[in-house]
Symmetry: C2
Subunit: 203 residues, 2 copies
């Protein structure tokens, strides 16, 4: 397309690099911003930049955090004997919104996917093992694997089971009440809450 | 939702102010940017800011432009005796891509919509009249109204006809090959091109 201005073209190019946003939608968003107050674009631009450059991760569970420890890891009321393993922050938010879980989390930061070139070394798996092994006088008793029931999720769960076996910790997986092929974050709260309560222990 | 970090929350809030983007999509986009190189967010942020603060408009047709005159108005090969009136830049792009039109444009910058508080004074209507009246030795012979066949589009077309009547210029509208209620920008190129060629003169 022959954009009327290089500035618009640059903006459209950058916006359309976001997942699920094509050139037409990008142009619509750009023209929307042009019609609105300059303030709005300024705040959007600054919020994105700040988020990307200043966001830190919890040194314990690798969730996004404002401080060295996230709100959950630094909350003394949480049950430290149980860790729920998830792919990313969205899964933490989804499980938290069920109000069914009072333990801690471990955010892998992705899922094993040979097709996309993501291997175990790219994920926070070693740090999970270290967490379990070095839990000392406040031992981790159970690991819940809360991964989406997809090919990648199952592969990752299988790998984690193998790795964690030596530590002797109890490993469970959330109940497969979630439809196969569905995405964890889009499950409704009742289904997701139930799947935490009726988790199934690996034998 | 309890976002794990204020930075994420701010970013999600700002992203979800864009049309058609809800909180869940905004969070997905934010986490996507966090996973990618810092460079990408930097470029997106800068492109948006530059676009919003530096974009200028053609002083003749009010289309978005890099210079005082847009590429179309400054192109000596275009037919200056004919002006196509459109709502915004997307419509110019859509008509240009048909390769059926060699005249000039006039971008209204919106459409008359009492419900949204947009009146004739908010649009580039007076400047269109001035363009027609002051065309002098290189007179404008025809005005094509290329507005979406919706309530607002018809109202605007009706208002423009009334205003332009005194100038004696020929007024036409693009053929209604476009489905009623459809959006101009999503019409396919053949339909849109045909509608330019077989435009119907107002009697």
């Amino acid at each position: 397309m022959n954009y009327p201005s290089r500035l618009i073209e640059d903006a459209v190019t950058e916006i359309s690099r976001l997942p699920g946003i094509g050139k037409k939608t990008a142009l619509r968003l750009a023209l929307h911003l042009l019609k609105r107050d300059e303030e709005q674009t300024l705040m959007l631009s600054e919020a994105l930049l700040k988020m990307r450059t200043q966001t830190t991760y919890c040194r314990k569970c690798h969730n996004i955090a404002d401080n060295e420890l996230c709100n959950i890891c630094s909350n003394s009321k949480r049950d430290t004997s149980i860790i729920c393993v998830v792919v990313d922050t969205r899964d933490v938010l989804a499980i938290e919104s069920t109000n069914q879980y009072r333990g801690l989390y471990h955010v892998l930061g992705g899922i094993i996917s040979p097709l996309e070139g993501v291997g175990p070394a790219d994920l926070q798996i070693d740090s999970l093992l270290t967490r379990v092994e070095q839990s000392g006088e406040d031992p981790v008793k159970e690991i819940i694997l809360a991964l989406s029931p997809t090919m990648e999720g199952d592969t990752t769960a299988f790998y984690l089971q193998k790795k964690l076996k030596a530590t002797g910790v109890k490993i469970s997986t959330i109940a497969r009440g979630i439809p196969i092929g569905g995405d964890l974050e889009y499950a409704d709260e009742i289904t997701l809450g139930r799947s935490i309560v009726s988790r199934v222990a690996y034998d």
